[in-house]
Symmetry: C2
């Protein structure tokens, strides 16, 4: 950890602090550095305690807890998904997370993760694409131009050199905003009139729509051989984006199979449909793309180890960036077993002060 | 919620704020009011999403997440248990928790829960004892005089009228400290030389030791007929306090059977050993104590609904108590889908400011 601190204090990175951090590092550099942490943790995949996220579903959305541990550090993320939230001026997805020491169980970092999740999701997609996209890919279609779209674009630029974007959203305003947000980043950007139009000439197709239902953003005839599909939006039961036939034609790469079979595009397939584990590709134990005409699919749902990597990265950044608050989160009695005495002495000190 | 607030802000109750709240309400009144919330939620037990806690075990301890929801509100608690922590001046148990709206997935409260957990554990024990302890009980033995002991004593005084305590701890210093902490609360207090000595004449026996192992704090011959045992310390796999023979003689009451069978004293018994569900007793669907000579046992492990009740109580208290901070926890872009734009506009505003 950065500064020495009392046992009661947990560093807290607010939304403001996170924006300062991302901007002071630079968003492209942030994504490159974060990707290195994500890769590092995928390579040592076997070290992690892995469990599907703990989800609480309601009619309007879901609240999830995503814990993991490598035996030294423990992390969890709280994240919601409520598509209707945008109608009341709220985010579809918000998140915060905690990193803790396994040895003591004490948290060492609490941080906003709405922005950080957008960054780690994009970083993970780009890491996967490094191994799966066709060599020399320059053009990416992005279908769904909401909150995650620009982060995907910049991560693919920073890690793969994508410099041509073909954007489509059912809301043309979203496409215009995405285009405007990205205009200073050096892309050639086409605003397209349909998903069919957008995928034209793209070597990579990113789907990142938000509706909580089974949609068909891509049908089989829309995707040619050799394309890499980065399917980000289908990430909970009953929420998919791709026609089943696309899945049957693709080599499918996933994060944690027990979770992806519940939440990913492959919920449309038999439970024993063969899939590849992304970590094995990143660790070099299995090949990624093996043929020019191969259709590859990263069925991204987001996994707890990626949040772990992001939390670890932010914690390491705090040593050189002072943007955090000290939160009085943990009771720290002068005598460890004397919680009650601490409370009573607080009464005395308060009484003395106000006398 | 208390004050109107921006969408990015979550009220945070620090350790200091919590101590102020408990002391301003008064600890006995706090425990009485909190018990009413705990009872209310036990009565509507069927409304809750219930799942055993999600535990991450290591050699030295455990980190747990305890989520639940009644369909309107969602809560979770982060809690660790590391007995060795006291050696480095840390608490064995620390905790914090979050209350959120199911409708939007947005958190509405973040609070310390080290102190609050001690209070809700004591409140729950007292609620159980109201239904299970012998009528007119005045004397309670407390075996294990650590951080939870005084809270138990005061809850039993406030809710049952216990006015005589018989204390024992393997560390006589712990007993002396507990006695001193409680001296202004109007108890008659005996410091005892052994567990056998402590249970002498007690109608209620509370066991609340902290070692993470299977111990035998009480053997069968030590406990006479008619006694109520409030077993608080045995609360994770491999950590029990009572001899198996005591369990076989008792009517056993538990919170959530699937969790207690893993974590409670009854981990020593067959998986189908009959137990009573506490909520049914509190709701009046089943009797509590039915005979003078009956030996009753509350096999307490702590359940997520009790934290839910405690969080709900604290949130309601915030409307009349101003002791909290506003935490910038949630990204709140002016345009909901424009997270990236918010980040970029922050760059502009920062640049202008520092120019």
């Amino acid at each position: 950890m950065s500064a020495a601190h009392s046992l009661n204090i947990v560093p807290f990175v607010s939304v403001e602090n996170m924006m300062d951090l991302v901007l002071s590092v630079g968003i492209e550099k942030f994504l490159i550095e974060l990707s290195a942490y994500v890769e590092e943790d995928f390579i040592r995949w076997v070290d992690f305690d892995k469990t599907p996220r703990v989800a609480s579903h309601s009619n309007d959305g879901v609240i999830e807890l995503m814990p993991t541990s490598d035996g030294k550090l423990y992390s969890f993320k709280y994240v919601n998904g409520h598509p209707k939230n945008t109608k009341s001026g709220r985010q579809t997805v918000t998140a915060f997370g905690v990193l803790a020491e396994v040895d003591s169980g004490y948290p060492v970092l609490l941080t906003e993760m709405t922005i950080l999740t957008a960054l780690r999701t994009a970083a993970t997609s780009a890491v996967a694409a490094k191994h799966l996209a066709p060599t020399g890919a320059k053009t990416m279609a992005i279908i769904g131009n909401g909150a995650q779209s620009e982060f995907q674009a910049i991560a693919f630029k920073a890690l793969l050199g994508i410099d041509h974007l073909r954007l489509y959203d059912i809301d043309p305003g979203a496409t215009q905003r995405c285009k405007k947000n990205l205009e200073s980043f050096g892309f050639k950007i086409d605003a397209c009139r349909s998903a069919e139009d957008a995928v034209e000439g793209a070597q990579i197709v990113t789907t990142v729509t938000a509706d909580k239902k089974n949609s068909t953003i891509l049908t089989d005839n829309m995707v040619g051989p050799g394309v890499h599909i980065n399917a980000v939006g289908g990430d909970c039961p009953g929420k998919t984006e791709l026609h089943r036939d696309i899945l049957l034609r693709s080599d499918i790469f996933v994060e944690f199979p027990p979770q992806t079979r519940i939440e990913g595009e492959i919920q449309q397939l038999a439970q024993d449909h063969p899939v590849h584990e992304l970590w094995k590709v990143i660790a070099g134990a299995e090949p990624g793309r093996v043929a020019e005409k191969q259709m590859t699919l990263f069925d991204s749902v987001g996994f707890a180890t990626e949040d772990f990597s992001a939390l670890r990265y932010v914690r390491d950044k705090l040593s050189t960036n002072s943007g955090f608050q000290n939160l009085d989160l943990l009771a720290d009695p002068d005598e460890p077993r004397d919680l009650f005495g601490m409370l009573m002495r607080h009464a005395t000190s308060t009484r003395v002060t106000s006398a």
